[in-house]
Amino acid sequence: MSFEWIKIPYALLTLFIVANYGFLLTAVMAKIAARVGRRHGIPVWQNYVDLIKNYGLRSSITHGVMFYLGPVFRLTGGVGLLMFVPTIYGTEMFSNMSFAGDLILALYFVFFGSLGMALGAGESGHPHSAIGVTRGLSQVTAAELPFALAVYAVAVQYQTLSVTEIVAAQQGGILHWTLFSNPLAVAAAMLSFLGTMMRPPFDVVLAPQEIPIGPPTEYHSSYLALMQTNRAIFPIAKIVIYMNLFFGGAASWPVFFLKVFLIYLVSVIVGVVFPRFRVEQSIRWFLIWAVPLGIAAILMV
């Protein structure tokens, strides 16, 4: 297979659309959450303003190469994830670099960002970062476990490791979705989804009121801006995976926007109303509720 250079502008276009959609979507979600709290919340363009502000800060203090690379890794995690899964099923333009067996790579990218973050934050030398990293990694690991099980179940179910093929297998009607063909795996994966979206009750790692803001304590100005950009791209990229694996993928941008919105909303619906778990509580919760579901999903298949 020869590499087609045209894929690069296509990928950038995808990235551009996803990033802007991410910025707006997180702001809209914040507004929805604010309305539940009976207030107005941030303006929808607030994310852009914050981004410009952070890029516009004059001073940036580095704590070493890894400190600088942390946000870069984090962003690579988000962008990479997006790049290697078909964003819009069936179009040459927005399938990007997806290839056979990309599911494993995708799984790796989901985790890649957290690891990069951990390395960078550790370099900053701030004790809060170190504590935040420890807590974050333990929780993410626990949350990824049911997801990995669910993905394994799906892979076994469709007998493929290609995301594109999994999506293809789900076409032809709502009832073909994994959601209905393997509900246990989807349930396990959605519980895991809650845990990785950094929303309550599983956001103790990044909570400002806890050990101040966790790993990114020392990050500021353009570093923080990079991470903000990632904060817009990464959830969307992750939702794309979920959408492709469990909800039949998206064949056009409107369907994409709608499905992403709805899947994102799942974490918000839960997040807005529940208080935080402590790290050990959330780990226990994943192990007790989500992991058995994942195992059951595999057994079902």
């Binding site: 107005h40 607030q46 303003v49 502000k53 001073s59 990114p216 020392e218």
Partner: protein, 222 residues
């Protein structure tokens, strides 16, 4: 009463010492030098292009990230701003738990010398440009602690202050008015407190050291 100030006492853990490493080396540790670099802050110029700087200033004004550090009783008046009743988030104001991510320091009321030390430390860690709002009488001229042995009377001696809000304590609405005024100043490009601090660094440091006697903080660590 002794009026001369002896050399400030330095805490034991910050004194120079010689330690032996597990592999038998002896190394000298000077915490005040080793932990922090010794450079003074530099004046950071504005963006070369006026249009870009204008855009940045607009963004800075519309995205005030406040350091969540309540120094005195006035901090209690910041809390209502986060509640649905006032909902400061809609003005682009939010609270950050770390000085690195904040660009607005609200000195909420009186500052004891002990707190001042932490405030200076936090202020210096904030990225440039940064703004200071003095809240209440205490920051202007001492307020009801004007004759206290351990409370500073004038904030502007120790940090560059952009806006003062009168009150004891000012109501949340007055705080919002103060933030609006600050936004106006930022948009006009007049809020250059961080550069002022860098330019008059020696003056500010001398004032700070005059009241903080156990100055065992680093001279600088940008």
């Amino acid at each position: 009463m002794k009026d001369d100030f002896p050399t400030p006492p330095v805490r034991d853990e910050l004194k120079k010492r010689v330690v032996e490493t597990p592999d038998g080396q002896t190394i000298e540790i000077d915490p005040l030098r080793d932990y922090y670099c010794q450079s003074a802050p530099t004046v950071m110029p504005a963006a070369y292009s006026k249009i870009v700087e204008g855009l940045f200033n607009w963004a800075r004004a519309e995205s005030l990230w406040i350091l969540g550090f309540g120094t005195g009783c006035g901090a209690i008046e910041m809390r209502p701003l986060m509640t649905p009743r006032f909902d400061a988030y809609r003005y682009g104001i939010q609270w950050r738990p770390t000085p690195r991510q904040s660009n607005l320091f609200v000195i909420s009321g009186y500052l004891s010398v002990k707190t001042l030390k932490r405030v200076i430390r936090s202020y210096e860690q904030m990225p440039n440009p940064k703004y200071v709002v003095g809240l209440g009488s205490c920051t202007i001229n001492g307020g009801m602690y004007f004759d206290s042995y351990n409370t500073i009377t004038r904030l502007d001696q120790y940090l560059p202050v952009d806006v003062y809000i009168a009150g004891c304590m000012p109501r949340p609405e007055a705080l919002l008015a103060g933030f609006e005024e600050l936004k106006r100043i930022i948009r006009a490009g007049k809020a250059e407190g961080a550069n002022q601090y860098a330019e008059q660094f020696d003056w500010y440091k001398a004032n700070q050291k005059r009241v903080i006697h156990d100055w065992d903080m680093p001279d600088y660590n940008w």
